[in-house]
Amino acid sequence: MTVKLEDYLSQVAPAWCPGCGNFPILESLKKALVELELAPEKVLVCTGIGQAPKLPHYLRVNTFNGLHGREVAAAQGAKLAAGDLTVIIHAGDGGAYGEGGNHLLHAIRRNLDLTLVVHDNHFYALTKGQASPTTEAGAKVKLQPRGVGSRPLNPLALAISQSCSQVSQTTSALPDHLTRTLVSAIGHRGFSLVNVLQPCVTWDKVHTYQYYQERCRPLGADHDPTDQLAALGLVLKPGERIPIGLIYTEDRPVYGEELRAEGGRPLRERGVEPGLVKGIMDRFR
């Protein structure tokens, strides 16, 4: 059975602004899933709250649209329970790097086979344009009218420094690159972080499609994604050119796979056998 783009067709109309940077991510995700020949019922998309997290409603797929910032935690629970599902998390920069920061740190450590796609537009868009953890210092926004005082988080450097199994960056402004990056990330065994630089057509007149098209440069053959220090150097170096593509990868044991290796069926298939506790109970006699 081949998987077709129509299989992912949803009846729900997107509630995003016209021209939103989320649209190319939605389209690229569908294309990537078709290319990977994954049937919708075997894919689970976990999200939180915001504009990006509405994404799974706009394709036909298993959906866990939970709480703001907790998408990574919920996805890990789901993946541990149902190892047969391909689990993809979509979050905004606020959810992934702010509210859910601690979950991200520990998800990198655990290294379940998950893909986290961060729609990074450097803003809280849904709540009308407050600063996010990746907003540039000095930017004047509603809650920080004198300019954002904190330095922006560098999520790529953070992930690479913690040996995240796969780290890549792409942009909504280059849809083909975005699709290829998603195919690689979803196909990767282990925890993959994809930071998607995304224009916000409503709140941000600087970081436009054109802005990213002019500055984003795919990494060349001279970049070795297995060299941790080189990858870190690349993302710590400020410059006019923004690196996109596979920045870092490390082959790490995948958490939870031993459960499957032991023939562990998804937990939904487990029955209730009260009598099975007798063996353990006997140890207290």
């Binding site: 019922e41 409603h57 959906t63 866990f64 996805a75 541990l80 329970a81 939904r268 009260p274």
Partner: protein, 563 residues
Amino acid sequence: MELNVRLAGAAGQGLQTAAELLGLAATRAGLWAAGFTDAESRIRGGLNFSHLRLAAQPRQGVRQRIDLLVALTEEALAVYGPELAPEGGLVAAGRWLHPKAAPFCLDELAEKAGSVKTRGTVAVSMAACLVGIDPGLMEEVVRDRFGGSEKILGLNRKAVQEGFAAAEAWDRGRGWRLLEPGRGPGRTEDRLWLSGAQAVALGALAGGASFLAGYPMSPATGTMAALAEWAAETGMVVEQAEDEVGAINMVAGASFAGARAMTATSGGGFCLMTEGISLLGMIEAPAVIVLAQRPGPATGLPTRVAQGDLNLVRHAGHGFFPRIILAPRDVSDCFSVTARAFDLAERFQAPVFVLTDQLLQDGQATSQAFETAGLPRKRYLLDPRELEKRAEYLRYAPAEDGISELAAPGASRHTVVVDSDEHDQAGHLTEEAETAARMAAKRQAKARTVARADWPLEIEGEVKGRPLVISWGSTYRTAAEALAGLPAAHLHLRWLWPLDHEKLREALKPASSIIVIENSVGGELVPILEEVTRLKVSRLINRTDGRPLTVEELESRLAEEVE
């Protein structure tokens, strides 16, 4: 006939290990043992005790009385020596002067056995001898517990011999024997000796639990630790989350994916979970939350007992959604109530709380081996073959009782959609007014269905014209014992929420007065009872210092109320 042994000393002196040995030996010998611990939140030093009550009959209430004091430090002697019963006896680690002291000291006997570290084994062997437990049985228990290391086993065997020899010489005429040679059961294998924390863990397994995510917090950690220890053989996924927020959201994700999922925490950790509780309510995901209570607010008294979180769990999470609150009353109940909680959670697709506390979690007791035959075995997930035949699957399809059919993602060709936003039948986010009202009504309908599933009220004694004492959770055993012989009835609430207003009002109305026994500062059950029954609670008998209510204390406080 009973003997109350208090082993008191500093943290790190092996008090709990020693109490564990004696309790197991007593259980195997056919006695009923019940123990509780009083420990400071520290690893070494301070003043702790393990109190063991040994009796020929089941006696699980908390006793203040000390018949035999084992004092491992001079501080322990100074603090608990004055509490010794008039005919009591003292065994001390050193040659400290006391009129009731035995003519030997534990440390010397332990050194004779080969190591001063065996003093706990010497002490409990003496206690075992005094109640009539066979030395061979004590040696068997020591072998089962220390069998891993030949050296430690050898030392402890000698310690058993030293303990028995010393106690025999001291015993004459003391009359503490609970077992006479050739009389009584002498040996039994149909009883268990375990803690409430372990019984909750066993109950979870019996209820089909396949997933736990939690963050360590006293006194809940014991349950997590037991399930983690058995995970390799049970296939349960036990995950230590980065924090409680992560834990409850992992539980929500696993539950959505079809696991029977749970967490275990205490009040402070639970506070962090409350948005997740609201999420469970909204997406209608089954989950069991074991809340092992301790005194608050904030960090409170981390290693001590309270029943102060009933209204917290009753109201936790914003918005209206149904929930069930259960509270086991003893170790055996910890097993069956927890097992049933999993059935209720999946049947009603709702969060179910199991409220325990430090006394139950850490306390150990002899229990009849747990019955598994009558426990529910059903899973409520739609059969995948049946699901495959359907033209569509709607997670929140309308249902008169408010309970839509439950399916897990990946089980069939249908996708499953849930949303923490208000959603339509298919699970998709919606703001449509009519749909929002319909979904709210569906959750209300489910709440009514849940309320009809409550368990029967358990009342001991005649209510009409007499005081009615109401207890819940760990105070039950102590209250029941203190009430024996008093002209009052006793209602124990194991199912705490939702309550059937009419049924409860009818049960309470004939009483001359209503007395609530609860280990909390303000009385958690009092406002609930008054709200539900529109009757006045006349008295709250409580404790506010993090220590358990005792039989002696309740006897005197109840006598004032009841006479």
